[in-house]
């Protein structure tokens, strides 16, 4: 199972987290699981970089955190996209589109 996992390219972790949070507030573990599932188990966020990334995003004001009760009534820290974060997400998504389109174009040339 480990072999079919791809390493995340640099800088895409932030984008993925923001996107995940754009649907609903989640705690850190849930974010990791969601991305893993939605990517058909291709993407596995390295655990060691998840939380530093979350704190970094929090620092820049794109997500904000609140302690709440999880589904089994345990205390968990929930992250939520802020309005600035939503704007950032749109900007980064656009950039990602442009990048991947460009790369695909280059790859298609023969």
């Amino acid at each position: 199972m480990a072999d079919s996992r791809l390493d995340l390219p640099q800088g895409t972790l932030d984008l993925l987290i923001l996107k995940a949070l754009s649907l609903e507030p989640m705690h850190g573990w849930a974010i990791s699981e969601r991305i893993h599932q939605v990517s058909r188990e291709t993407l596995q966020i390295p655990q060691g970089s998840l939380y530093p990334a979350l704190h970094r995003l929090e620092r820049r004001g794109w997500i904000k955190a609140e302690w709440g009760a999880s589904d089994n009534n345990r205390r968990a820290k929930y992250y939520e996209l802020t309005r600035a974060g939503r704007k950032q997400l749109d900007a980064e998504a656009r950039d990602w589109e442009r990048l991947t389109t460009a790369v695909a174009l280059v790859m298609r040339m023969s």
Partner: protein, 936 residues
């Protein structure tokens, strides 16, 4: 971008303030994550333990993640600094001796430096508190603020008519004002029961005084142009803020009140702003009177119409675009021409000769006038340089202590580096400690400086007897504090950083060796104890002691010089003389009545029990006032006009006997000269040598040319020629200035109705015993004759002391700083010795075990300390002797190599060294072998 930045800052602040709760939150968060992972694996069928292990593995290193999270938070740097601060505070608290020594040293150094700079700034540097002081130009000699002169017109200070001419004709000033001394005046405020009488400081100024300076009224108004026109018409005064507060409690009702100035009713019309007390530094004024009021307030002196009365200082404001040099040329030319117009013949050529020797002074007026500034300026600067050295000493001191600390912590640093501490991190910690010390000391230093400045100025103010206190604005100059603090910080960092760099550099991290060296303390003790554990510590302390030596030598010389000044032989019996002055300016005593008054005064005083003799004189001893003239002496052909100048004094019978001056030939002035016969003159030794070179002066004639006086004592414009016969030669004595070389002086009787232009009757009394005992009875005797006239009675020695007040000032200030430097040197030596002995505890224990007596150990440590001190002395003495050349001008009666003061300085320094190292030496002696072992 901005929003991001704001949120970033807010986040960091929150992270800093609630660090602990954030850490706990992180823990909870991570724990929650691992739990969910564990559950996930459990659901897939693993056992709890296996799932837990798997989850943890997948997660990676928790601690490293925490670290990464913390990094991501972005507050790591700040947090570490805060942590370092707390650690630094704790570690400084745990070493009170070190901390106190360093803080005291730095504070004292910063305080001393700031205090002396404040003094120098207040007295020498600060510009006048007026608008655009750099545009002001003085067209007089700025030191002659309280002088006046009757005779040929001079340009050091000018007559009123000359001022008017220069003001009208110059092309370089937008306007110019003049101010002159009011002479002693009496003021009465209020009437009946509430009267206060006093003698404040006031000056006469032209109406444009305040407008030229650009000083607005704080309350009321200043003078108008109209008040400058008609003599006697506008009896108004503007008072200073301080006087307003002192005399009128700052009440607005003061404006409009009437003061009686010399019995003339004067209305107060305004108050100047706080901080302005005139244009004369060191002489704060209480109020200003319009020039036109002079004839009414000082009647009989004709100061406004007489070109031979010079008494005013002039100051002008430059027109835009005009330079000082242009002003100098224009004003010199205009003034010289204005004087020449009113002279003729010989007087004119005399004036031109005088100008060549003494050109008209036109200098910057930004720093106002000052009578004494030039005299002590150089000495003050030298002192400031010396005190600047003190700051260097201070830095050296602190550096050696910090070096000691770092070397002592070498093992700790090595261990930490081996365990993985980053070098930068360690440096940060050491830096934080250094900065903390510097900041605390700077703050304390500022307080010390404030206190010190006040003490200094109180000393300075209290030192002069006659001339009055030297008041100056002493608000602390932040520039200086900042400078001193920055310099100290730089030194602290430099000397703290460099060895720290060395100690933590890779090459030096040899853990095994350092551990080994500590473990072998007992064995290696002998080797360790010999060489100082503190690399430059001893050298720095020696340098410090050398610098202290320098200051001590200077201080000692100045002190000896002052002693000479106060006790030197000035040719009279100064320890038994009292000078009496009675002010006559508004009295009925003129002409023959004045002559009688003088005789009565001298007679009455000589009848006081204890008085041996009393005699009157025109200028007297150290009583202000001087006269001079040009003479032609029989048988002498002068080569230049300057050879004809002599000083002169009118004296009564028995004068020389009364003051204790020695007659070398012939006789003194006696009763017979008062009656009739050819006018007699007694000349002094210097004059005899000059004009008679070896021949006998007795019988020769001296022809004197002086301004004539009328029967009321007023000066006339014509000159009189008087012929005198020399009847005696007296040994030189000083009557005005202790320092100066004796001048040519001659003494004749009064040719009544000459009153002398100081308007005073002066008598010198010779007493048996301590003069201070006779002041009161003599004062009473004078009252009997003089009635209500203002009287001053002082022992002559007090007056002499007043005349050298600037020397006294310098000595007092220097001694103040010598004490400070000594304390600093003691602190430095103590610090280094204490540290050194604390490192050598095992060595002392070893010595004790081998049979050394406590006394031996004490002596050994003391000996080492004294050796360092001796090295300092050996370096310091020649350096000090060289440096004292700078103050040679201030010295009187002592050469630069003065054995007693040098010996005293050396002794004091060595004694200080012993005292400073005594406590650590004793502590070293108390170390027993058991303690040494326990350290292992």
């Amino acid at each position: 971008m901005l929003a991001e930045l704001l949120s970033d800052i807010r986040y960091r602040l929150r992270a800093l303030s609630s660090r602990d709760s954030i850490e706990r939150e992180l823990d909870d968060e991570l724990r929650f994550h691992i739990e969910r992972e564990t559950e996930k694996y459990e659901r897939h069928g693993m056992s709890r333990d296996a799932a837990l292990r798997r989850a943890r593995l997948a997660f990676g290193g928790v601690e490293q993640m925490k670290e990464a999270s913390r990094d991501a938070r972005g507050t790591e740097r700040l947090e570490s600094i805060v942590r370092d601060l707390r650690y630094a505070v704790r570690s400084l608290e745990s070493r009170p001796a070190f901390t106190l020594t360093v803080v005291a040293t730095l504070a004292l150094g910063i305080g001393a430096n700031t205090a002396i700079f404040t003094l120098v700034d207040a007295l020498l540097l600060r510009p006048l508190p007026v608008a655009h002081p750099e545009q002001l130009v003085i067209a007089s000699d700025p030191t002659q603020v309280n002088n006046n002169n009757v005779g040929a017109p001079i340009t050091d200070f000018v007559s009123y008519l000359l001022y008017r001419d220069v003001r009208a004709r110059n092309t370089v000033f937008t306007d110019m004002y003049a101010n002159g001394w009011s002479g002693p005046i009496d003021v009465q405020i209020g009437s009946g029961a509430g009267t206060t009488a006093e003698q404040p400081h006031a000056r006469f100024v032209t109406g444009n005084f305040f407008s030229v300076l650009g000083v607005p009224a704080y309350a009321g108004r200043t003078f108008t142009a109209a008040e400058d026109e008609t003599p006697g018409q506008d009896p108004v005064a503007v008072i200073s803020y301080d006087y307003w507060q002192r005399r009128f409690s700052g009440s607005r009702a003061a404006i409009g009140r009437v003061m009686r100035v010399n019995d003339v009713a004067v209305t107060i019309v305004g108050v100047t702003p706080p901080g302005f007390s005139g244009d004369i530094i060191g002489q704060p004024l209480d109020f200003w009177l319009p020039m036109m009021m002079d004839p009414v307030i000082q009647p009989g002196m004709n100061l406004l119409n007489d070109r031979s009365w010079s008494w005013l200082m002039m100051m002008g404001r430059l027109k835009p675009g005009v330079t000082l040099e242009q002003a100098r040329q224009n004003v010199s030319a205009v003034e010289a021409n204005a004087v020449r117009e009113n002279l003729s013949g010989a007087a004119q050529s005399q004036f031109d000769d005088g100008l060549k020797a003494n050109p008209i002074q036109v200098v910057s007026g930004a720093r106002g006038f000052s009578e004494r500034r030039a005299e002590y300026a150089k000495a003050l600067w030298v002192l400031m340089a010396a005190v600047g050295l003190v700051i260097l000493v201070v830095c050296a001191n602190v550096s050696s202590l910090m070096l000691a600390r770092i070397v002592a912590r070498r093992r700790e640093l090595t261990v930490r580096m081996t365990l993985g501490a980053a070098r930068g991190r360690l440096m940060q910690q050491l830096l934080v400690e250094g900065v903390l010390l510097a900041i605390v000391s700077s703050v304390l230093g500022v307080f010390a400086a404030t206190w010190g400045s006040r003490v200094l100025l109180a000393t300075v103010g209290g030192s002069s007897v006659v001339a009055g206190p030297v008041a100056a604005d002493t608000t602390l100059d932040l520039r200086v504090v900042a400078f001193a603090g920055a310099m100290t910080l730089a030194c602290v960092l430099l000397f703290g950083l460099l060895p720290a760099l060395r100690a933590t550099s890779g090459a030096n991290v040899d853990l095994a060796a350092s551990l080994r060296s500590q473990g072998r303390n007992l064995m290696g003790a002998a080797r360790v104890g010999g060489r100082a554990n503190i690399p430059f510590g001893r050298a720095l302390v020696a340098a410090q002691i050398a610098l202290s030596m320098l200051l001590l030598i200077g201080g000692g010389l100045l002190a000896r010089s002052m002693q000479q000044l106060l006790h030197a032989d000035i040719g009279v019996d100064r320890d038994h003389l009292i000078a009496v002055r009675v002010r006559l300016s508004r009295s009925p005593y003129v002409g023959a009545r004045l002559a009688q008054f003088r005789r009565d005064l001298a007679n009455r005083i000589s009848r006081v029990p204890g008085v041996d003799a009393a005699a009157f004189a025109g200028n007297g001893l150290f009583s202000e006032g001087a006269s001079g003239g040009r003479v032609d002496v029989s048988g002498f052909v002068p080569q230049a006009d300057s050879e004809r100048v002599v000083s002169l004094d009118r004296v009564g019978p028995n004068y020389f006997h009364a003051i204790g001056a020695r007659l070398l030939r012939g006789r003194g002035i006696g009763m017979q000269d008062l009656e009739a016969g050819p006018p007699a003159v007694v000349i002094n030794e210097t004059m005899a040598k000059k004009y008679f070179a070896g021949c006998d002066p007795l019988g020769g004639t001296v022809t004197l040319v002086v301004p004539a006086h009328d029967s009321a004592g007023r000066t006339l414009t014509r000159l009189d020629t008087l012929h005198y016969r020399i009847v005696g030669v007296v040994r030189d004595f000083q009557s005005r200035d202790v320092r100066g070389t004796p001048r040519r002086e001659m003494y004749t009787v009064f040719d009544d109705p000459y009153t002398g232009n100081s308007g005073m009757a002066k008598v010198v009394a010779h007493v048996r015993g301590d003069p201070s005992r006779f002041v009161a009875p003599i004062r009473q005797a004078v009252r009997d004759v003089a009635g209500a006239l203002p009287i001053a009675v002082d022992p002559v020695n007090d007056l002499v002391r007043g005349s050298v007040s600037e020397d006294v000032l310098l000595v007092q200030v220097t001694i103040f700083f010598c004490v400070v430097t000594l304390v600093l040197a003691a602190l430095g030596l103590y610090g280094v010795t204490a540290y050194s002995t604390s490192q050598r505890t095992s060595e002392f224990g070893l010595r004790a075990a081998l049979g050394a007596e406590p006394g031996d150990v004490t002596r050994m440590v003391l000996g080492e300390a004294v050796r360092v001190a001796v090295i300092g002395v050996v370096i310091g003495v020649p350096a000090g002797l060289l440096a004292t050349r700078l103050i040679r001008a201030q010295l009187f009666g002592v050469g630069t190599i003065d054995v007693p003061s040098l010996g005293a300085a050396i002794l004091v320094l060595l004694a200080t060294a012993v005292v400073a190292s005594y406590v650590p030496a004793r502590r070293a002696a108390k170390v027993g072998p058991l303690e040494a072992l326990r350290l292992e």
